[in-house]
Subunit: 341 residues, 2 copies
DNA sequence: CTGTTAGCGCCTTCAC
DNA sequence: GTGAAGGCGCTAACAG
């Protein structure tokens, strides 16, 4: 059907012919094999350079049964968190001579399956995956397991047994955040949290409660609201928090977007930011520093480092220095970054 | 050296053996070749399904001499513009059954060369490239040309003859921006432009001047400042513009970051945004809407669409429906998006 | 030190 | 309709 177009690129065969030696000698010379004479080596290398020879990796991949390529599946590249993460992945992969094959699911389960399928056919050596919001069925990952393609899950992790994961624990950062507010004298601290079912929301709530407990303060459940992360939801949450009997002087928001919406609401109520009300958030975006009223502090989740860690974990799996029934679950600690003292 | 690990994946050979037919029959059956009997076809397909057979793409790539993979080289994934662009690239590639190999140069020329080299070895079918800020030498692209790997340059385009490009013309958007301000009654409009040597700066300046000319207003060179895009540079530029005899009531800024810095400066001078002073900017970031004082309008550059266009151009080059000496240079029009009337 | 040979999985031309 | 054979470029036994 499709014509095989000769690429015109020189092969070791041609080099061998011109030099009147065998292909294996050429191959070995090019690889600096110890058993090849210095003179032949030099001759081969010189001719190869002259002819602009370049090894055909597709042949090598085929022959070796591995591609030195890792597949990356993420929900959405345009989210700052993921673009930062993939930056870390790509950097680490490249410095280990691996290439990166990319796919984004857009949180669509069907597309996610399709991409995994395509990566499997591509014979990637391994995958790094952050699953979509709506993914409920994990058959595609089961197929990878059967094909013996190792996977490291990262940030958005499926509820599966025996998997490798890298994620960031938000509890510690939240404790630091609440600590920070308490030290500044705040006693009534609200929290605009995310949807209840998210692990990330649970970690935030737990951190909040633990921080209070640490300071022997009683926890008032009224002060935590679960919102839907939309601007409208945030306004509602703000309205609620500001209507409470106890006067809320600080609020921990689910992320920077929520913080920005909350700030807008507060400004409309003629509140002075960092005086009447102080915000602390989670750094999903690097631009919060540019806003007129950035949060006084935010919990950094180190997406770049997470990407790096996930890649290193995958590479160590690929190097085969692991027992097959050993599963790595790495938990990074989040950390509070203070913008405004 | 490295052991060849049998992947354990079934091959057409095994299917053939189990069915006591030849590999070529299996191959043909799997491809729905017309000359294969319906019964055999069915038997083959069923067994293949049962065995979880999956075609080894690396073998196909090798054999066909093409990989259905395109290489993407970008300066920096964490820049909103590029992450949006790659989103468009990836979507388009995937819906055409192409896979995407990723590399970021971090604006480092050496790394850029290395990535191109690696993509060439990978035998990508084509490349989409946005060059680094500091790249002065283009030998690596010359090598791609010799290897007959088509390249589409995009957004950041090198100064080379006979290349394919996709880029966005900022002149039109700038004209619209100035039009918008003039219609709102502004007569003294400043511009904080970028470094003089950038094409993008030139286009902005030209658009500004053309818009004034269109309205038969005289152009005052004092009103355009070239800044370095840092916060400090922006402050200086603001100080200068606000010190002019003629009272500047509106400013066009190089991008949203500059706009945000400029807004900060204006606020410090107790100016009221959108009253004493109005800003119009270029949309490099989707978050400007979240800031307390977003620009009244901004010039959209459609990175997603640019990525899509570049990919389509590359795909059409790959399909071979082009003369070799034909070069495509696509210019998209930027467009003003009004946030605040 | 170097050459010969086989084979990776698949497709395709040629023969039957 | 189906089979046999060759070859894509490279590596790695196995022989000298």
């Amino acid at each position: 059907m499709r014509k095989v177009v000769s690429s015109g690129q020189p092969t070791i065969k041609e080099i061998a012919k011109k030099l009147n030696i065998s292909v294996s000698t050429v191959s070995r010379a090019l690889h600096d094999h110890h058993s090849i004479g210095l003179r032949t080596k030099a001759r081969v290398k010189q001719l190869a350079a002259e002819m602009n020879y370049e090894r055909n990796q597709t042949a090598v991949y085929f022959q070796q049964g591995r591609t030195f390529t890792i597949g990356i599946l993420l929900p959405e590249l345009s989210e700052a968190f993921f673009s930062s993460a993939i930056s870390g992945i790509e950097d680490t992969a490249y410095s280990n001579d691996y290439t990166v094959l990319l796919g984004q699911s857009h949180d669509d389960e069907a597309r996610e399956k399709q991409i995994i399928q395509s990566m499997k056919q591509h014979r990637v050596d391994g995958c790094i995956v952050s699953i979509g919001k709506n993914t409920r069925n994990y058959d595609h990952f089961e197929m990878l397991r059967q094909a013996k393609i190792p996977v490291v899950f990262f940030d958005r992790i499926p509820d599966l047994p025996n998997i490798h994961t890298v994620s960031c624990n938000l509890e510690s950062g939240t404790i630091q955040a609440v600590d920070f507010l308490l030290k500044k004298g705040h006693r009534v601290i609200g929290m605009i949290n995310g949807p209840e079912q998210l692990v990330a929301s649970k970690e935030r709530a737990t951190g909040y409660i633990k921080a209070l407990r640490k300071h022997r303060l009683k926890y008032d459940p009224e002060l935590i609201v679960n919102a839907d992360l939309t601007a409208a939801g945030t306004s509602q949450a703000m309205e609620y928090l500001l209507s409470l009997r106890r006067k809320v002087t600080a609020i921990v928001t689910f992320n920077d977007y929520v913080a920005m919406d909350a700030v807008q609401y507060a400004l409309k109520q003629k509140l002075e930011i960092n005086k009447d009300i102080t915000f602390v958030s989670y750094a999903n975006t690097p631009v919060s520093g540019y806003t007129a009223f950035p949060p006084a502090a935010s919990v950094e989740q180190f997406p770049y480092e997470q990407g790096k860690a996930a890649t290193n974990m995958l590479l160590s799996l690929l190097s085969g220095e692991h027992a097959l029934n050993e599963y790595n679950n790495m938990l990074m600690e989040s950390q509070l970054v203070i913008h405004d003292r």
